[in-house]
Symmetry: C2
Subunit: 384 residues, 2 copies
Amino acid sequence: MSTFLEQLETPVPVVDLDRMAMNLDRMAAYATLHGLQLRPHVKTHKSPRIAAEQLRQGAVGLTCATLREAEVMSEVCDDLLVAYPPVGAARLERLARLPQHVRVAVSADDAAALPALSVAAKLGRRSFDVFVEADVGMHRVGVSNPDRAVLLAKAIHDTSHLEFGGVLFYPGHIRQNVPDQSGALAALGTDLARYIDALRDAGLPPRVVSGGSTPAAWRFHEVPGVTEVRPGTYVYNDRTTAMIGACDWDDCALTVLATVVSVAVKGQAVIDAGTKALGREPIRAEGDGFGAVLDHPEVVVSRMSEEHGILDLSKSDWKPRLGDLVRIVPNHVCIVVHLFDEIIGVRGHAVETQWPVAARGRGPAYEEVDKGPSRPRAVKDEAR
Amino acid sequence: MSTFLEQLETPVPVVDLDRMAMNLDRMAAYATLHGLQLRPHVKTHKSPRIAAEQLRQGAVGLTCATLREAEVMSEVCDDLLVAYPPVGAARLERLARLPQHVRVAVSADDAAALPALSVAAKLGRRSFDVFVEADVGMHRVGVSNPDRAVLLAKAIHDTSHLEFGGVLFYPGHIRQNVPDQSGALAALGTDLARYIDALRDAGLPPRVVSGGSTPAAWRFHEVPGVTEVRPGTYVYNDRTTAMIGACDWDDCALTVLATVVSVAVKGQAVIDAGTKALGREPIRAEGDGFGAVLDHPEVVVSRMSEEHGILDLSKSDWKPRLGDLVRIVPNHVCIVVHLFDEIIGVRGHAVETQWPVAARGRGPAYEEVDKGPSRPRAVKDEAR
């Protein structure tokens, strides 16, 4: 017996499988066309099932932020980049305990992190590729100039059990996929060339120059020197991605299905998706609200409580009734996925499948029973 | 062998058990002193362990928002208010399937919700108390005036399996626990009196008049007519609660322990707690940032990515180093709890205990094996 969208309990994240397939295809084709390596960031989906599909379509490996993500993804991938500073005893221990057959890279911006990383590598009987993270304008992490990059690359090169992997950057400040951002992309190219030249002059040419973010990914063929792209959001897309022009509205594959639970206050309807289902993420583009109705994009979630979302009906002729179902395109889909344990996959209105957000949370993915450092272990919670 | 705070893996929510005990004591004493019934909202802690302590200290029952919360709390409490509109088939079915010995109340603002609720009650062989939710100025849910309240109360009274329970309101717009808010509290009293009088005149005097929110809870003894208070946040408190004067900084019991992972960019330090650990909740008071350092409240989390929090050091002499641990007081603690599966309890620097956030998530808390409508069932996941 089929289950239909209309029978699901709300709030729940629902993925349009056809749209997701198109999104996966499109990025894989883009990377192939331009000769860029694709290393998708799994933070968006946190699912080994989707990661496996990304690898099947030619991704060279996966990008992770947390050790939970790396552990879960080690079940389907033997080439992981943990694009996060390797700092803190527990993080180092878990890095070292990743299965031995998995090639593991990390990113660093501080030579002070290297000695402990080297010890962890030695104890875990492995080595790490270490990327120099360069700050290209976002001012979050990363060395601030090519001289510092060279010093760090040398320190990596000179530390046992560590290999210099290349340059990594995250141009999170380049969000607009529109023509007037070409200047920012050109500046990025100039900046990267300074890093690449300095490293080459020092005898440490970067094998890989790796850039993150979905909006920028679609433009990296215009930036000389870039060899690898690490987009995450593109698998689902979201309202911000659409509003900045890095995808179409019809490319938004994940919506939060919600129920109208109150129409008592004039000019609005209240749904059962609030901050604990949508996150309180502002739109990083023209517009306001915390999400919009898929079929009525003029209706936004204008206010939220933890379990209430207020739909502002002032700009719409649509009159939702008590009990109606709505699908909300969230502003930032990565946050929504992190708020749920399970995702529903639909084909049209028919529920076709569901999968756990296996890499959600922080705890170790491997069974505690097996304390060995490197044998293959079963991932916990996948079947939950 | 003891474990200390300094050995924990970050990011992780840590509760100071002494502070939490003080917070629980203080609200219980306040309610007793003023003859108010205390029905704490469990959305903040989502833990049956803490709920049991609230009940031991005299709470008359518990308030829930989600059915997951109600199911988990039915293990420790036989008097539950689901302060949420009873709309949607799954919500009704789960309400009806709560254990038979548990008294269940819901809040409503629309007579259109009553027929289905009545059917669910009949099929579940139970009855529901139904509160009329009144909008007293927040404009989220609730009937807008006493005439509508009377119509709804009559409809409840006239519907089989439903009992009129009283009036429920949530003055979320009254956030300041400071003297100049006395005017708003006086207006609230006047407003409530109109509702109470109208219902009494209609022959349906409310047994209970129940108000929510932690900041307002401390002032409800000044509002005539209120019989019950439903604070949630007070168990942990947070930066917003402290900044509006509804608690002291030293009453903030929950912090997010985080590690400094980068000091590469001048004037800032980066910690491993971003939006996926702290939520992107603005401070609803004077100030900025998304949280502040417990021991250096002048240092706020000024920007965030999903796994990065940027500490703005411009107003501080404190110079954190790579690998340092910091404790962040979040702006809104209810969101933080919802982001984690487990909470660590500490006494000073010693880790004393830990407990699951058992009512986090959306799925049914009872074992699927038992499909009976009302027998006591074991709660899943508590031991995870």
